[in-house]
Amino acid sequence: MRSVRRVLRTAGAAVAPSAPALETRPVVAEPPRLQRAEPLEGGEVRVRRVDGDPVVGVAAFLDGIQESRVLAHWPGGIPLVGGTVAATVRRRVGRTLVAWRPDATRVEHALFAPRAALGDAVWRALADGCDVRDTGDPDEQGPWHPLELTARALSAVQRRREAAETACAELWCAEGDGPLFVDGGIASAGSAAHSPLAIGVVKSHRTLYVDGDALPRVLGLAAGERTTAFTVASPRRASVASWYLRLRDPAAHDALWGLVRVEVALLGATPDHCDLVSRWLLAERQPVSLPDPRWGAMAYGIRLTEEYLRALTR
C-alpha cells in the first residue's frame, strides 16, 4: 500500500494517517432471522448422531482475507480506500499444509473509489500509478454521503475477495484431488457449488435455516450430532445441500457456539455422504485454532490458511 499512498500524494489527495481497517468498524448488520428450508432427509429437520468416528478426509483448505483502509480523502469528502484481498488453497501433505500451486494463490492490492466523484482526469492519474476499482454507480449523480462511499468501497473489496475465493475453488474442483474445505458457503462459488469436492463450512448464523419447530432441535445439538440435510436455495445463488453440525459442546457458551452449517453440492448429498463429510469435519477439531476468537467453529487448517495469507499481504 506504500506505492498507492505515493500515487495519491502525487495526485494531490490528502493522505490520511494510518487508520484502522474498515473491517473492524462496527457495521449495521442485517437483522438475524429464521428461514425455512426444504428437508432433504425425511419430511422435517431432525437430529441424528454422526455415525462412525471422526476420520481425516479433507485434502485441502480454501480461505480468503480482505483488508481495507481509508488511505486519503479527495476534496468533497470522497474517501479513497486501499483494499487488499487474497485467497488461496493450502493442500495437506502428511500433517502439514503447503501451497498447492502458484495460480491457486491470488493477491490483489487496489484503490477503491467512485470514478464519477473524482472526475476522469484524476481517475486516469491514479490509474497510471496503481490498480483502481470504481465503486460508484455510473448513473448516479452526487452529492454522496462519505460513509455511504466508504461502505460501497468495503462492499467492492468484499466482492473482489469472494471472486478470488471462487476462482480458487473452481480451480481446485476442476483440477484438485480430494475434498476441499471452504471457509464459508459454496452456494455463490460458481461451478464449485456443484462439485462433489467442495465442502462449505459456514460459521456465522445470522440466518438460521430452520422453522420455529426445528429451532430447539438445532440449538440443542450436542457435540458430534448433526441435523438431517435440507436444501438452501436462493434466486441468485446455486442451491446446495446443507445441515447443521455441532463441533464442540457449547457448555458455558451461547447456543450457536461450536455450531457450523455445512454446504455440499445437492447431487450426491445422501445421508451417508452427509455423515462422512461430518466425520471429516469433526476430525478437524484438533488442533484447536485458538487464539482465534472463532475457535469454537473454526478448523485449524483454515486458521493456518488465514495466517499464510496475512503473511503474504503484510
Partner: protein
C-alpha cells in the same frame, strides 16, 4: 544446499556480529553448526558471504498458551497426537558471525539464503585458509567438525599453538570422562605427525600426577573402533602409540623400586629412576622452604653454603677438618663440625651467621632428603632426564602420582627450570617442548600463597612461547586457575563442563545454549577456542591410540614392591639383560642395604658398558665374600704312605 533464510525484525534485528535465520524442521542444524549466508551483491557487484556459527536455537508454534493445547485435546494427550494437522512450528536460530567476505565495510548481515558450510567454507570461516596453503602449511588437526553427513577437519595453527605468535593450551572438563588426558594424548599425536619440519623439532614432557593415566603411552589402545580409525585417517594422523617414550619416577621411600604404577617387568625397559642429590636440589631449596623458613638471615647462609661450601674444599680454622660437600650426608657432617666447633668455643656466631640461624638452616636443608625420600638421595647420586639429549618427537613422562606434594613441587620446579635454561641456551636437543601439567588449579591456583611453582607457571605462560617452552595444562575448574596463566593460553579446549563452573563469570561471553551444550558434551567432543577462530567451534576427536590407564593396569598389573635382590636385579637388567638374580645375590651378599642401593644408583647413573663390573666395584674396600671352596674329603693320616717311623 540452502537450508534456511536470514530473518530480522525490529525487536530482533541482525547486526554485523549476530544474525537470525529459520530452517525447515528437519534441517541438520544445531548449536555449533557452521553456516554460510549468501547475501545480495554489493554495489560494485561483489558477492557477499557471511560465515557464522549457531549459538542459540528456538522453536515455537502459533500456540498462545499451553492451555490452548490442553483445551484442544480435551485434556487427553493421546488425542492431541491424532490431530490431522500439525501446528505450524518454526525453527529459528541465532548465529554469531565468524567472518565476512568482503571484510569491509562490516555491515549487518543481509536477508540472504543460508547454506550448510562445506569443507572449503569451514576453512574460510575459521580463517584456516591462511595456514593450509601449500608451502606455508602450519596446520595441526584438532578434530572433525560434523554437521549432518558433512565432516570437515579443523586445524590449529602451529605458530599459535607452539609459538612464537601465541602459544599454550588449556583444557577444562569434568573429571572421569577421559576428556582432558585423552585430548592431550590425541593432540600430541597430531602435533608429532603434523608439526612442520621447517619449524624444528618438538618433544613433550608430561607430568603424570594421578593414577596410571599416562603410564602406557607406548602401548597400543585396546579399543579403537572403526569410527576412531576413520577419524585418524581423515585427519592424517597415524593410529599408533607413541614410538619413543621414556618414563621417569622417583624411588619409593624404601628405595627398592620406583614409585610408579608402571612397575610391570614387561614394561620396565624404558622406565628410569629420577633421583637427585644435593647439587641438583640446593638451587631449588626455596621450592620447599616457606617464607617463615627463609628469612634474610637464613637466605644469606644458604647462599653462603651454595657458593662457598658445596662442591668446594672448605676449610676453616675452627673446623676439625676440610670438607668437600657433594651430598646431603657431607652437608650434615659439615654442619655438625661447624656447630661442634662453635659450642666448643662458645661462639654465638660464625662468619656473621648466628648459631640459631645455622641450626635452623641445618634442620631445613638436611630435612629435604627426608621430606623427599625416594627422590633426593643422601649420597649425591643423581639420575635425571636426558637434558641436552632430548629427541625429536619423544615423550618424557615423569610419574609423580605417588610422590609427596613437596617432592612433586621440587620435581616440577627443577624440570621446568632446566627445560627453560636449556631452551634458552639452545642445548636441550629439541627446539620446542610441550610441558603437560594436569590439575593446574593445584599448581597455579587463582588464590592462595604465591608459590615458587605458580611463579614458574606464570613465567612459562607469559614468556615461554619465545623460547619454545609450551604449556599444555588441564584442570577441572578453569575459574580456579590463575587468570594470567589461562589468559596467556592462546588455545583453549573445553570438554564436558560442570554447570556450576559454567555459571562463573569466565563463561559469560558464551551464549546460554552453548553453555548448555558444553554441560552435555559426549566423550570425544570438545569446544575449541583458537586465536584464528572468531567464535568457539565444536569438534570431535578420536580415542587416543594408546592404552588407557585403567586398561593398562589390567593388562600390565603393577607389581608389589620386590625384595632388595629382585629390585636390584630388575634395575640392572634395564642396562644389561644378562644380570640374573643369582648373580645379584652373590654380588651383594653381606652388604648393608643402603650400600646396595647406593651401588645400584651409581651404576644406573653411570650407565656403564660393563654393568656387572661397575656394580661390583661399588663394594671394593669391603672384604669379598667368597663361596666356600670344596675341602678335600679326608686328610692323609700321619705316617701313612711314608716310611718315617716317627711321623704320625
Amino acid at each position: 544446499m540452502s537450508i534456511g533464510r536470514v530473518v530480522a525484525t525490529e525487536r530482533r534485528p541482525n547486526t554485523p556480529h549476530e544474525f537470525h535465520f529459520w530452517t525447515a524442521l528437519g534441517a541438520p542444524v544445531g548449536i555449533g553448526t557452521i553456516v554460510r549466508v549468501e547475501g545480495p551483491p554489493t554495489g560494485d557487484g561483489q558477492l557477499v558471504s557471511i560465515y557464522g556459527v549457531v549459538v542459540e536455537g528456538f522453536s515455537y508454534t502459533d500456540l498462545q498458551t499451553p492451555l490452548h493445547d490442553v483445551l484442544g485435546a480435551d485434556g487427553d494427550p493421546a488425542s492431541a497426537v491424532r490431530a490431522p494437522t500439525d501446528r505450524t512450528e518454526i525453527r529459528l536460530y541465532t548465529a554469531h558471525s565468524l567472518r565476512h567476505i568482503p571484510d569491509e565495510p562490516r555491515q549487518p548481515v543481509p536477508m540472504g539464503v543460508v547454506h550448510l558450510a562445506t569443507d572449503a567454507d569451514v576453512a574460510i570461516a575459521l580463517r584456516m585458509d591462511g595456514y593450509l596453503k601449500d608451502g606455508q602449511r602450519t596446520a595441526i588437526p584438532v578434530g572433525i567438525y560434523r554437521s549432518g553427513a558433512m565432516q570437515s577437519p579443523v586445524y590449529l595453527d602451529a605458530d599459535f599453538l607452539l609459538g612464537p605468535e601465541a602459544a599454550h593450551l588449556n583444557i577444562s572438563g569434568v573429571s572421569g570422562l577421559a576428556t582432558k588426558t585423552s585430548a592431550v594424548e590425541w593432540l600430541l599425536s597430531s602435533i608429532f605427525a603434523h608439526f612442520p619440519a621447517q619449524k624444528g623439532s618438538v618433544a613433550a614432557v608430561c607430568f603424570n600426577v594421578k593414577g596410571p593415566d599416562l603410564c602406557f603411552l607406548d602401548q597400543p589402545a585396546s579399543k579403537l573402533d572403526e569410527a576412531d580409525r576413520a577419524l585418524y585417517d581423515a585427519l592424517g594422523v597415524p593410529a599408533a602409540p607413541f614410538p619413543d617414550v621414556e618414563y621417569f619416577a622417583p624411588y619409593t621411600a624404601r628405595g627398592y623400586s620406583l614409585a610408579t604404577l608402571r612397575s610391570n617387568e614387561a614394561l620396565s625397559h624404558n622406565v628410569r629412576p629420577l633421583s637427585w642429590g644435593l647439587n641438583e636440589v640446593l638451587q631449588y631449596a626455596e621450592v620447599l622452604l616457606n617464607k617463615d623458613d627463609v628469612d634474610a638471615k637464613a637466605d644469606a647462609l644458604i647462599d653462603f653454603i651454595r657458593e662457598r661450601v658445596v662442591n668446594n674444599e672448605f676449610t676453616d680454622s675452627i673446623l676439625e677438618r676440610a670438607h668437600t660437600v657433594r651430598s646431603f650426608t657431607d652437608l650434615e657432617q659439615w654442619f655438625r663440625d661447624v656447630l661442634r666447633a662453635m659450642e666448643g668455643r662458645n661462639l654465638e656466631s660464625w662468619r656473621t651467621h648466628h648459631v640459631a640461624t645455622i641450626r635452623k638452616v641445618r634442620n631445613r636443608l638436611t630435612n629435604i632428603s627426608t621430606r623427599c625420600r625416594g627422590l633426593v638421595t643422601d649420597d649425591g647420586t643423581a639420575n635425571d632426564l636426558p637434558f641436552g639429549a632430548f629427541r625429536d618427537r619423544a615423550v618424557y613422562v615423569i610419574d609423580v602420582a605417588s610422590s609427596e606434594e613437596d617432592a612433586q613441587d621440587l620435581i616440577f620446579a627443577r624440570v621446568v627450570s632446566q627445560l627453560r635454561e636449556q631452551l634458552e641456551r639452545r642445548t636441550l636437543g629439541v627446539d620446542h617442548v610441550v610441558v603437560f601439567v594436569d590439575e593446574l588449579n593445584k599448581y597455579a591456583p587463582s588464590d592462595g600463597p604465591d608459590t615458587y611453582v605458580r611463579k614458574m607457571l606464570l613465567d612459562i605462560a607469559e614468556r615461554g612461547r619465545y623460547l619454545g617452552l609450551v604449556l599444555f595444562a588441564a584442570q577441572q575448574f578453569r575459574s580456579q586457575v590463575h587468570r594470567r596463566v589461562v589468559g596467556n593460553c592462546g588455545t583453549a579446549l573445553f570438554g564436558r563442563m560442570d554447570m556450576d563452573e559454567l555459571a562463573t563469570p569466565g563463561y559469560a561471553t558464551l551464549a546460554p545454549a552453548t553453555r548448555i551444550k558444553l554441560s552435555t558434551l559426549d566423550k570425544g567432543q570438545l569446544m575449541v577456542r583458537h586465536p584464528h577462530f572468531a567464535q568457539p567451534v565444536f569438534v570431535r576427536f578420536p580415542r587416543p591410540a594408546v592404552l588407557g590407564g585403567r586398561e593398562g593396569m589390567e593388562k600390565f598389573p603393577a607389581e608389589p614392591e620386590p625384595s632388595l635382590e629382585v629390585a636390584v636385579t630388575r634395575a640392572l637388567r634395564t642396562l644389561d639383560p644378562s644380570v640374573t638374580l643369582e648373580w645379584v645375590k652373590q654380588a651383594i651378599v653381606a652388604a648393608p642395604e643402603d650400600e646396595v642401593l647406593r651401588a645400584r644408583n651409581r651404576t644406573l647413573q653411570a650407565r656403564p658398558e660393563d654393568v656387572k663390573a661397575c656394580f661390583r666395584a661399588q663394594f671394593r674396600g669391603r672384604a669379598k665374600a667368597e663361596p666356600v671352596r670344596d675341602r678335600p674329603a679326608s686328610f692323609p693320616l700321619a705316617g701313612s704312605g711314608n716310611d718315617d717311623p716317627y711321623s704320625f
